[in-house]
Symmetry: C2
Subunit: 336 residues, 2 copies
Amino acid sequence: MRLSFDEIQKEIKRVFVKYGMTEEKADTCARIHTESTYDGIYSHGTNRVARFVDYIKKGWVDINAEPTVEKEFGAIKILDGNMGPGVLNALYGTDCAIELANAYGIGMVGIKNTTHWMRGGTYGLYAANKGYIAIMWTNTESCMPPWGGKECRLGNNPFVMAIPGPEGKPALQLDMAISQYAYGKLQVTRLAGKKLPFPGGFDKDGNITDDPGAIEESMRIMPIGYWKGSSFSFMLDILGSALTGGIGAEDLDKKGMGSCGGASQVIIVIDPKQTCDRSYMSEIVEKATAYIKSSALSENSTGIYAPGEDYVAFRKQHDEKGIFVDDSVWAEIKTL
Amino acid sequence: MRLSFDEIQKEIKRVFVKYGMTEEKADTCARIHTESTYDGIYSHGTNRVARFVDYIKKGWVDINAEPTVEKEFGAIKILDGNMGPGVLNALYGTDCAIELANAYGIGMVGIKNTTHWMRGGTYGLYAANKGYIAIMWTNTESCMPPWGGKECRLGNNPFVMAIPGPEGKPALQLDMAISQYAYGKLQVTRLAGKKLPFPGGFDKDGNITDDPGAIEESMRIMPIGYWKGSSFSFMLDILGSALTGGIGAEDLDKKGMGSCGGASQVIIVIDPKQTCDRSYMSEIVEKATAYIKSSALSENSTGIYAPGEDYVAFRKQHDEKGIFVDDSVWAEIKTL
């Protein structure tokens, strides 16, 4: 079905208020879920509302908890998320990092003991739309074997880099998990009776495969770049813990409070006014985008895209036709 | 052949002094090349000396240039590398970032207009061995097609993350280029008559292939994680330029002053004393390392390794047997 931004936000807000959030916080969280849906990140927008409510019911998210300051030094602030709603913690953390960047050119906020921030890109775009460059990541419970192993020990640890667009144009953003495919993508592909476009993991016998069902069964999803992504994910996990005083994959697994329950997040924000002129930054972004697009297309290519063009395309489509929401997802939200 | 650390450093120093470096700078640069060799990164150690000399002769490196401060604000310092030796610029930049981290908890140095820093991991380990966490990268001239294209428009842009090890133990480090394989690896594999362990690019007809020769011919090496690495490399390039006021891939290509001639480097250093206790950081690193190693090994696995175990293994082997240097590489250095 197709709905308006307001219809979606209003309904999600109703649910969050019902489960104990204040009007104001519910409004913010509902807006973020709706924005993610508007940007085409359904998995962390409308499709995630029911699970968030489930986490509240299980006591895995403390709906009224607020972040508290643990440590402060110069351009660094460490927050305890107190297991409050990840979206509110991360928004607050990003605001703090922006304040620090205003004062020192760069600011870092570490949030320990927080919960799922939903779409990592929310905070990257939030900072970039205010004129800042952002580097952010979260660690997560394990869902991926380390390279050379076959049991899950690594998270897929989303990593975000965002930069303002050329003046008057949308921000550019990389928002990637370190697994080649999310489990959601495996499921959707399997249900459609299709193969993955590229091998995405191993079957239970250790054969590399593009069969999504075989990977779901083995739980042996593959990191990007094989051994490289495995190491990258590991570093995001340990740096995530060390830069926040929080916990890593093993303790998240032991805690067992759902996806990202107790996670550690790092938010680095930089004020590019202190590094180059605004007009120069616009030029960099425009020039680099034009440069990649100047390449001849490869065989069967659907085009060459700069990071973030996908969300801009979704917005356009959703503006024209209304925002897509899966019928069954919407029906479930209505029952909450 | 096998040589001692001193033998290698002394000979490389002789060469650098001959081509116009001061004794002190030549000593430092020779030490860095020797350390990279000692750590098993031959490609950016002994194997790179002749090319560095070639760049000096061509005027692509200004052997006596020193970095100058372009901008300073809070925890940010922007340097102009003035096309001086990349190793000296990057070491100086790392020292500045450490000073900023001491004052503000986090510090960022951007270096524009610099030259090849050789092994990125040099500066990560340098910071980590002094007790800091580091995130660093450089942009480079293009050598890889963007996803969906077949002409080179992206650099393989090395990305570094380093953290001190558990107390008394070696630092952990990720030091990866964004291409799945370096051209050097393709060449070595082809010369050995072998295939790559995993597909590493496309042949000239656009077929994905593990044949190194076919990829060398097409120049269509693949980024890690396909479209993900392509976007990651793009972001490293534009953030590299925006955070330094420097130039990106297209202008590096136009400049045509060899590998990384005029590159932009970002050096972020964080003092973990401001984020958690030293003993907690040790615990994080030990625990996470033990956790990945607790997984059952996959079929044909040679083991599960934490990032950086490779350089530790090389040091051990080189301590026992002497440092490996390719005969022809050494012979060439002798003629310089």
